[in-house]
């Protein structure tokens, strides 16, 4: 019991140290994280903006804008997971930090815990950026926070799910030594196929089933509900319960996989990653 407690304290300490480290090195000195995320967010906007051209001219532009903004919101969370969290491993490898971490017997997972609050601050900034661009290029999005409690819970679930996703990606980097292309393709295809942008009710039947089979669809649907953008496909309560159970299971799986990845690097040594 005390051993477990000690481990938790230790973990909290590493997380706190990492948080301070990231705050200093990334936000105050480097600004690199926020800038790269803003860049990715701009790409996203670039690709999502033309979607508005497909809308029925009869529908108010405000609705169209709300729809687009909802998509940008979910996607931004995904980018944080793929680019910020999954790539953190790449950075740790390139700066030769990972080996030291492993050697010191600390789990790199704790580093992640410290990274999350920093990323959330960035996330807020790029969401505001997205809102601004949609405002200028399309119209002011018509969104209302219809249920604050649901919004917070849905957002938390989304974070849990994408954090797990990031760990899975990080594990593939560890295990395969490559990443770029795989991360890129999946980070775009996945949200599309799983309802990150399109409400499940609007999806073709087969895709809908596929989407419900992934943990990603649940928080997205709940988020859209909370912002009054679109009604979820199942009753809110059902979505909520399945979503949380599924999300936590995914998290457990991803942590296991990550540990496996670390063990593999211990066995085979770290590979130098390519420039692209």
């Amino acid at each position: 019991m005390t051993a477990l407690f000690n481990r938790l304290v230790e973990a909290a300490r590493i997380a706190w140290v990492s948080f301070k480290l990231y705050t200093v090195s990334d936000i105050i000195r480097g600004k690199s994280g926020i800038i790269s995320l803003a860049g990715i967010s701009l790409w996203l906007i670039l690709i999502i903006l033309p979607v508005s051209l497909f809308a029925n001219p009869q529908i108010g532009l405000g609705r169209v804008a709300a729809f687009i903004f909802g998509g940008i919101l979910v996607f931004n969370v995904y980018s944080v997971a793929t680019w910020d969290w999954a790539w953190e491993i790449r950075k740790l490898i390139n700066y030769n930090v990972l080996e030291h971490l492993i050697a010191s017997g600390k789990s790199p997972l704790m580093v992640y815990l410290g990274l999350i609050p920093v990323s959330l601050i960035w996330l807020l900034m790029i969401i505001i950026l997205g809102y601004g661009v949609v405002n200028v290029f399309v119209a002011q999005p018509e969104i209302v926070i219809s249920d604050l409690k649901l919004l917070i819970l849905a957002f938390t679930l989304l974070i849990i799910v994408v954090l797990s996703y990031a760990l899975v990606l990080a594990s593939t980097i560890l295990i395969s030594g490559t990443s770029g292309a795989i991360v890129e393709i999946f980070s775009w295809v996945l949200p599309l196929a799983t309802g990150g942008f399109i409400p499940l009710s609007l999806m073709p039947e087969s895709l809908r089933t596929l989407a419900l089979l992934t943990p990603f669809s649940y928080p997205a649907e709940l988020l859209r509900k909370a912002l009054n953008i679109y009604e979820p496909i199942l009753p809110t309560n059902t979505m909520f319960i399945i979503g949380y159970i599924y999300g936590l299971a995914f998290l457990t799986f991803s942590i296991t996989l990550f540990k496996l990845g670390i063990r593999k690097t211990l066995k085979e040594g770290l590979k130098t990653l390519s420039a692209w």
Partner: protein, 269 residues
């Protein structure tokens, strides 16, 4: 001089080939990329409305429009990407000093850096545009696709001089990929590759006139809508060429300034 340039392109090709061919996933991704972006936009669009609304608003078939747009997205940034990221990467891995002392014009080298990618991207153009154009328009589509590929390469070339200027600015600012990551999508946003220029807010639209890429891209999009080159689109292409020539001396100068900066600071080893 031409011989020298070709040998530089060959050397650069080795570098690109090593990266791309040794990591086949990159080649795979490159070929898939235009399809993914096109499918992404068209699918999202269709869930939000219909293709005919798009045609109504822009005059173009959305599938053709976006497969072309995504191809342009890749091709247009070649020079900018290669030059700024390669010189930056050289600084990062410590090859820069050895490149600096080469008695070769850095502008020539910069241009040479873009060419191997450009050639590889012709392949990407063939693999992405040809099938789609052929399915939608049968044989006349083949010719059209070839013309669009040629125009896209031309368009990328007209952007090369301004790209050198941008790259030098990025390199001089020392911001590395941070500045890059903001500037790249911004260039694409204002050049109207995916979101046509005529829809941009007026002030931005006005600004894009001095931007070769925005003009040549509009000419290509008009080619899609009107299925031919009109006097207006020829004028746009001419404008892009003139701008490219106008920026050429500035581009040489800007790379020199960057070189000089490194001389003062000392190339990192």
């Amino acid at each position: 001089m031409l011989k020298r340039f070709i040998s530089l392109v060959r050397a650069e090709y080795m570098f690109v080939a090593a990266e791309i061919i040794r990591r086949k996933t990159i080649l795979f991704a490159l070929i898939l990329w235009p399809y993914i972006i096109m499918a992404f936009i068209v699918l999202l669009g269709s869930s939000m409305g219909t293709m005919s609304y798009f045609q109504q608003k822009t005059g173009a078939n959305p599938i053709l429009f976006f497969i072309t747009g995504s191809f342009l997205l890749i091709v247009s940034l070649i020079f900018f990407d290669e030059i700024s990221s390669r010189f930056w990467y050289d600084e990062f891995i410590g090859t820069l000093p050895y490149i600096m002392i080469a008695p070769t014009s850095k502008t020539m080298l910069a241009l040479a850096m873009g060419f191997p990618r450009l050639i590889i991207n012709i392949l990407v153009g063939l693999s992405s545009l040809i099938p789609v154009y052929f399915i939608l328009k049968s044989f006349p589509g083949l010719v059209e696709a070839l013309i669009v590929i040629a125009l896209s390469i031309f368009s990328a070339l007209t952007f090369s001089t301004l790209a050198i200027i941008f790259s030098s600015l990025v390199l001089i600012s020392g911001g590395g990929w941070r500045v890059l990551s903001i500037i790249r999508p911004l260039i694409m946003l204002i050049s109207g590759v995916l979101y046509p220029r005529f829809l941009l807010p007026l002030t931005i639209k006005f600004f894009t006139i001095i931007f070769p890429l925005a003009n040549s891209v509009e000419a290509i999009q008009l080619f899609l809508v009107q299925e031919g080159l009109t006097a207006y689109s020829l004028m746009l292409l001419g404008l892009a060429t003139a701008l490219a020539l106008l920026y050429a001396p500035v581009s040489i100068r800007s790379l020199r300034i960057w070189e000089h900066r490194i001389l003062i600071k000392g190339a990192k080893t």
